[in-house]
């Protein structure tokens, strides 16, 4: 009889153990009740920005109701926007003045002082006049070309080819006149390294041609013939520089020649002095929560920064405080 009760006790205890284990396991794996990540990699500290540095505020968001936005440029009171396979011209009152369907999806736009517009579409280029008439159009000879940025400098068109890691130079008839790979005698400055498919160039108010060398987190100034003149290089995980594969992704200039840079990975837009110091932050990473792509940037006549948010399909306007 004693044995029997012993047995019953053992069985009951074990059964209780089984039930307890199941209940504990079940409740501890409910969503929101699960343990946190033991291997947490805290990149939050790199995402947070000293509020004192944020000297810009977001004033407006303009939603783009047509196709996927792809590129933005600003010239003389007008916004040039590539959306879907269209080129659109948008006036200062946010009315759409003109629109034109391009033969392929535009990838980047540049507008020059004469009012002519250069649109790159992957491996093709087109020159349009202010009425959006196509003046010249080119199929570039090699298919292995991916133009990620164009700029107009001294009446020549400079196109950054991210696949070939070189800058192609065309005249206004779209005949290729030159190309260069950014190699120079300076030992620590390598030719263009484009590890992530983002390669950008722009002309500053002093009419200098600046090109990114994103693999080494550098902004480089070249002569029109492709000779390196000077550069700034800032590699850092923090706000003071650029990090990762391919940054900055896009950049442009404020009227006084300071850089506006846009970065991927930890998405942020910031202002850098000509000597490469981070001066202020236009948009901290929180502004792009959930986004994945570095916004394209342009600067308008009032010195506001227009950021093209690809994920949310809108133009976001940041004003200095």
């Amino acid at each position: 009889m004693k044995r029997k009760w012993q047995l019953i006790t053992i069985v009951l205890v074990l059964t209780a153990a089984v039930v307890a284990v199941i209940v504990v396991e079940f409740t501890s794996t409910l969503p929101g009740r699960r343990p946190s990540n033991p291997f947490a990699y805290d990149i939050e500290e790199f995402r947070s920005v000293d509020p004192g540095l944020i000297k810009w505020k977001e004033a407006r968001q303009v939603s783009i109701d047509t196709g996927d936005p792809r590129a933005i440029a600003y010239y003389n009171g007008k916004i040039f926007l590539a959306a879907g396979n269209e080129l659109q011209v948008i006036g200062s009152d946010w009315s759409r003045l003109q629109r034109k369907t391009m033969p392929a999806e535009p990838s980047c736009i540049a507008v020059a002082d004469q009012g002519w517009i250069v649109v790159a579409m992957g491996n093709r280029l087109a020159v349009l006049d202010s009425e959006l008439e196509i003046l010249a159009e080119s199929d570039l000879p090699e298919i292995e070309i991916n133009i990620t940025s164009v700029a107009i400098h001294n009446n020549n068109i400079y196109a950054a080819d991210a696949t070939g890691r070189m800058v192609l130079v065309f005249n206004s008839e779209l005949q290729q006149v030159d190309e260069f790979r950014g190699e120079s005698g300076v030992s620590e400055v390598h030719g263009f390294i484009v590890p992530g498919g983002h390669f950008s160039l722009a002309v500053n108010p002093e009419n200098e041609l600046w090109i990114t060398n994103p693999g080494i987190h550098s902004l480089q100034n070249y002569t029109p013939s492709g000779r390196l003149r000077r550069y700034i290089q800032r590699t850092s995980f923090g706000i003071e520089g650029f990090s990762g594969c391919c940054n900055p992704v896009h950049f442009t200039f404020l009227d006084d020649g300071r850089f506006v840079t846009s970065e991927k990975g930890i998405i942020r837009i910031k202002v850098m002095s000509e000597s490469g110091e981070t001066e202020s932050v236009i948009a901290p990473p929180e502004a792009f929560a959930g986004g994945t792509r570095a916004p394209a940037v342009a600067v308008d006549d009032q010195g506001n920064v227009l950021a093209l948010d690809f994920d949310r399909k809108m133009i976001r306007i940041f004003e200095p405080i």
Binding site: S243, G244, C245, G265
Partner: protein
Amino acid sequence: MERKKTKSRREFLVSSVRFGMVLALGGVGGLALKSATKDQWVWQIDPFKCSWCGRCATHCVLNPSAVKCVHAYELCGYCDLCGGYLIPGHSDRSTAAENQLCPTAAIERKFIEEPYYEYKINEDLCIGCAKCAEGCSAFGNGSLHLQIMHHICVNCNECAIARVCPSDAIIRVRGSEPYLMKGDFTADGE
């Protein structure tokens, strides 16, 4: 006599119930056959949904996990400053332990040529914690990512990681295409 009668009645009842069950079983099987596939199903991680929560390392029924980091080399920038290899705030870009992000030192860094470095995963050491994948996605191209390695995975009927995955990144895929490697599984285009 009466016994026999009840017995035969009973037998008739039993066999008709049995026949009904056979029919029901056949029906269920037939219905299931309609949506059945020849292929087997295996678990795999959709790298585009992965949020690097670290549960692949802690919740797999195997220890160490069947989830390993893989490297899609064609996406890698071969950078010197690798967000998946170096800890933030590293003192220099060397292979020294104090600079390595990987808790088990499973990433091997190899100099190729100026300025390129190769990063290779040592599968035996990798525990699938996703630290490097998170770093690579935050700072780099996202070429380091997690996959379930099928020579290790026991292909549970219900994947213990999938149950706790916060971003539903673990899905069943056909056994004939068991990997969702970045760089080759989105063969779509314009």
